[in-house]
Amino acid sequence: MQFDAANLTTILPEITILVTACLVLVVDLYLKEKNKDVNHKLSLFGLVIAVALTGVVGGGERVVFFDGNLVHDRISDLLKGSILIVSLFVFVYARSWLKDRNMLVGEFYVLGLFAVLGMLIMVSANSFLTIYLGLELQALCLYALVAFDRDSKKGAEAAMKYFVLGALGSGMLLYGISMIYGATGTIEFGQVAQAIAEKGLSNQVLVFGIVFLVIGIGFKFGAVPFHMWVPDIYEGAPTPAVLILGSAPKIAAFALAVRMLVDGLQNLHSDWHGMLLILAVLSMGLGNLVAIAQTNIKRMLAYSTISHVGFIFLGLLAGSNQGYASAMFYTIVYALMAAGAFGILLILSRKGFDVENLEDLKGLNDRDSWYAAMMAIVMFSMAGVPPTVGFMAKLLVLEAVIRIDLVWLALVAVIFSIIGAFYYLRVIKLIYFDRPMLNLPELVTTNGVRFAMTINGLALLMLGLFPTALLSLCQAAFV
């Protein structure tokens, strides 16, 4: 085999992230305690370059590289770009929290960047092997990030739970992959699809494998009934780690589902359709109902994640290009919303105090009306109130479901989303109509954080008013 250096140009964003992470790892050694901000700047610089390179090498037709291990198409371009941009927000928000707690060390950025690298690899994977390795790279970084606060017992417990359940999920996924490999004799998605088309669809082993694949995907997404880890880990992990694992990895999980189920097993849609249907209904129901009972805002957001995963599955199970595009739109938008919501929690935290309970948000409007407005936009968007983008996302997903004549499912989704609106609006009520607690110190944030949060919040509004730009990109990805 001749090695073609042109292979490398397509993975320039990945290479940039890898180089940045290694650079931070080495530079951090020689930095004095007071200069640790250099890590932060380096990481942001690397991410910006990676975004630019994604744009430069992006576009063009679908091409397969590295002997079928890597694919470059519009899905990978769009998802890579959104992962990198969401991660930019994440790193900007996390900085002051880490600094206040003497945790602004190089390892946070190294692990965060490697997690981003894992997601990028998953997004452009074209074989089960590559996607699994990307998944493990991302997961390993996230386990360590959850345990990042070494003196926190809760953090260690959360990391342990995450690790054990994550390993179980990976094991299920691997078992499913081995079944698919056994039935088709290949691990490359394109060839799997081809083998299925040739051999016929009634293979018992394939369906058996798909069951395990769907369980694995459910674990990684946090869909009911594989959701047990989500609330505990959101509650126990340090908030910056939750910010990292609650936002961009959802995009990667979407890529996991699309690459395996759509690229590889599209012909067996009738088999995985029903499984996703069950997961979707359970996730929307349990997520929205249990979130109402939460007083801890991190737990509430965890259950809200579960319910959003249900909506993403609605788009996927439709099995049409329109459905996949709407699910993709929903996922990207959700990652932005989650970044904004946890970003606000980080902004409200200060030295020696973490925002844990809903009450901590009381009277945010009196303390800082701009952040209050941004949080309100995020909450309205999560609830799906027009004109925010959350409404558009829900509308598109519901349209996809109605087009395949599952009107009852759309009705169920609407009912649960109305129930869910309650707890999002409760947050807005706390922000605007309750008095803040006495003797609170003033909110201090840097201009960078304010700038990022402004873009994040207004993006949710602008995408809601003018959804065509992002939507046409999503639709072009599935043609």
């Binding site: 590295f66 390892e107 360590a144 056994g182 039935a183």
Partner: protein, 217 residues
């Protein structure tokens, strides 16, 4: 074929038996040793399948390195097995039920009907000239170069994460930096202080006569 089949059953039986022992032994050290046995017999099974390189690597890496470390950890940690086993009987019925159901299902699917010799005919024997290890290396570093590189990054992350989670300066730590020790100067440790004699009445002793004892007399 006959003898190979016999060997297969012997090794397969030992693997299953020792795996069972791993989870039932009360003494964790015994459990680890049975795990070593399970690894060695699985390596033998791989060698029967003509995957000699993988078999040897399994013994070298898992038994030689990983399991020895594991044994150390198990010996160092003082795990109270009684606490771990407290709810064992409580969960046993449900656990057994689920295991039996899942095992049956897996057996139905992974049985000889779908994975028998009809669906997967035995591969033709390759000539002795083909070098398994060479072929493995060739495909690893050509076709699978991208996954190999990703795997190397995963290992790097494992190192970074392990160091981050465990390396720290504890107050009770008695560690002394060799570099600091080597670079110590005399002036860091010994300080010469000039001071006046404290006892002014101290009589200077008579001239020391020890040396010239016998001479003056």
């Amino acid at each position: 074929m006959g003898f190979e089949k016999f060997l297969f059953y012997v090794f397969a039986f030992i693997t299953l038996w020792s795996s069972g022992m791993v989870v039932t032994r009360r003494n964790p050290v015994h459990a680890v040793l049975f795990l070593v046995l399970a690894f060695v017999t699985s390596a033998a099974l791989w060698i029967l399948l003509e995957a000699e390189f993988l078999g040897i690597v399994l013994v070298l890496v898992y038994v030689g390195a990983v399991m020895v470390l594991f044994l150390f950890v198990v010996m160092m940690l003082d795990v109270d097995m009684a606490i771990l086993r407290a709810n064992f009987t409580h969960y046993l019925p449900l656990g057994t039920f689920i295991t039996v159901v899942m095992a049956t299902e897996i057996f139905i699917v992974v049985g000889s009907e779908n994975f028998g010799l009809v669906a997967f005919p035995a591969p033709e024997a390759v000539s002795m000239a083909v070098d398994n290890t060479r072929e493995l290396g060739l495909s690893l570093y050509t076709i699978y170069i991208y996954p190999v590189e990703i795997a190397s990054v995963i290992l790097l992350v494992a190192i970074v994460a392990a160091i981050r989670l465990t390396l720290r300066q504890r107050p009770e730590n008695k560690y002394v930096s060799p570099s600091n020790q080597v670079h110590v100067k005399r002036f860091d440790r010994v300080r010469l202080v000039k001071m006046a004699s404290e006892n002014s009445n101290f009589e200077t002793p008579a001239k020391d006569t020890r040396l010239d004892d016998g001479v003056t007399k």
